[in-house]
Symmetry: C2
């Protein structure tokens, strides 16, 4: 490696032929000495206190790269860190469609509960695919929050720490029997929207009632660019109200990160309010196209939770629904919400 | 009011001279009958099942506006609802600077705890200004979560349901005495970032240690457009790691909504990782300018929490810090996180 510098920047010719330039302020800001960085990696110096006219006084390569600055400070950098040690870790994300039905990410309750590699692999599936299934668990009430606490923290809401999805089917009331639910984002009217949802099956003697999942990111990627653009451009209003609650947010169907990459899907035909966009006709065309693709068999997987089974979804990526079910028998699920930060933290710690 | 229609849309001439056009699909989608809408306002019909080629068969004005569609359904609309009943409620938000020091939003603990108008006004201040203070409360540990539960739900994290900010000052260790903390967003490395933070004072015998707050939205509005553009265009990486935790997110300093309006500020000089942008020099100029404005007296308010006092901030808008404090005495705060959805819901219900 060869280095060269002027007052404003350091240039490095890496052995692989690559050349890179580091600005004086960037180097000073990222000094790794114990005065500037806590062992945890937290920055101790306050970036805003660095002088704008900071310059490099000298630079030398002696195994480490040592740089003296005009503010009197000297920084010693590990060359490997400058080469690629400060880059963000690579992102795990694999889009999927119905073909994944043959290789569903399934963990065994006892193994995942024991922690270690089984828990790590189960969490890695959620991070990569946006969902995972757990089988062979107990049917005890409260199991769903116990699973959430394996990796994170339950997000309590007005529905409680956990909530029951229970329909003791009453054949005299046809409205509450057999109806399927289209793929949807849960609780889009919350700010922030829960990023993880868990659903655990306590009883399932009714015929039908398969759970359906679809990778909203896969479907969004297959939309026409015009439709994708419309769904990302206009916020929709989502709302839920009852006697004790009044929740409302505005968010587009497709939220893009500043990179242009898709960051979140919010689709919920039940709680979305009247759409207000300049060209209603064009918007409905895009909105319908996306909504219908979410129901297409080529994108959708189906599985039936047996008592003791559970699944978890990344609620801003994978939309969930259910098929219709029979008018006799019982179907009892318990659900709770949690967030990604705890899950990804646990996964990272288990992957060390 | 006069109405006219063709197959694709309904036109209304309002008595005030305004003219409006409603598309057939929009009208059908928003039919308010009990078959299409639950009393809660949730949509019962699934928008994606409506035919694309839906047309209006007839329309009549008889006090209500009655529309028959090609799918055989008839919708009856209240004219007042079509005129403005479906609009989003107006947004409360008032930007502030140091001048607000003379009219700080302060509630009395006993009154706010009793609920009703005092709680409503206190929550309204948080919604409008992004912060509020509570005085005269107890110094009992756990008070901070009790206050959060007045309006919402504690967001549990790896720091617990609540956490202690406690420095029993040890004059032999200068590093842990007297140091101020610049204005910052708390926990920017979480996904989602906590939207509310509460801090409650249990003991405060040390001189100094004033809390400082600054309206990040006010400061961002005063940035040059070039600087604002740079801070909104590139994500920064925020990270925190210890033995049991590894949290990391990518988000720009300024997050814009699709409308272009500012939606969130993330600024934390301690946990931000090395900046990776195309023009480092230009970016640092903008980043420093914003960071320094956050410290300017013209934007900043200061107040000292006495034992029993508490404040709450909207963590994605109002940045908080503290001045240095003396080396003798004790300063003990307890903090917790919560989220906006519960607060806004409670405020809306109390405002009914």
């Amino acid at each position: 490696m060869r280095i060269a510098h002027d007052a404003s920047a350091l240039g490095i010719d890496w052995p692989d032929g690559r050349t890179e330039t580091f600005q004086a302020l960037w180097l000073r800001d990222n000094c790794p000495c114990e005065e500037c960085r806590h062992p945890s990696g937290q920055r101790l110096l306050d970036t805003r206190r660095l002088p704008n006219d900071l310059t490099i006084s000298s630079a030398a390569e002696n195994g480490t790269i040592d740089i003296a600055f005009s503010d009197g400070h000297t920084a010693r950098f590990d060359a490997a860190w400058l080469r690629d040690g400060w880059a963000a870790p690579a992102r795990r994300r694999r889009l999927w469609d119905a073909a994944i039905q043959c290789e569903l990410p399934v963990g065994r309750y006892d193994e995942v509960l024991a922690g270690g590699a089984a828990l790590r692999d189960w969490l890695a599936a959620v991070d990569e695919l946006g969902f995972a299934i757990l089988t062979g668990g107990p049917t005890a009430p409260g199991t769903v929050t116990r699973v959430a606490e394996l990796f994170g923290y339950v997000r309590e809401t007005n529905y409680g720490r956990l909530f029951d999805v229970r329909t003791v089917v009453d054949p005299t009331n046809l409205a509450y029997t057999g109806l399927g639910l289209g793929a949807h984002t849960d609780n889009p009217y919350r700010d922030p929207t829960p990023t993880l949802q868990l659903l655990h099956c306590l009883a399932s003697s009714a015929a039908g009632g398969e759970n359906t999942l679809v990778d909203g990111f896969r479907v969004a990627a297959d939309l026409s660019p015009d439709h994708r653009g419309l769904l990302a451009r206009y916020p929709l209003r989502f709302r839920f109200a009852d006697a004790d609650t009044e929740l409302e947010t505005e968010v587009p169907v497709l939220t893009l990160a500043v990179s242009g990459e898709l960051a979140a899907v919010h689709y919920n035909t039940r709680s979305v309010q009247p759409i207000r966009v300049p060209d209603v006709h064009a918007y409905y065309e895009a909105y319908q196209a996306f909504g219908r693709m979410l129901e297409e068999p080529r994108y959708r997987i189906e599985f039936k939770l047996e008592p003791g089974d559970l699944f978890i979804v990344d609620n801003l990526r994978v939309l969930h629904g259910r098929t219709g079910y029979s008018e006799s028998g019982e179907r009892h699920l318990q659900g709770c919400y949690a967030d990604r930060d705890g899950l990804r933290s646990k996964l990272a710690v288990l992957s060390r």
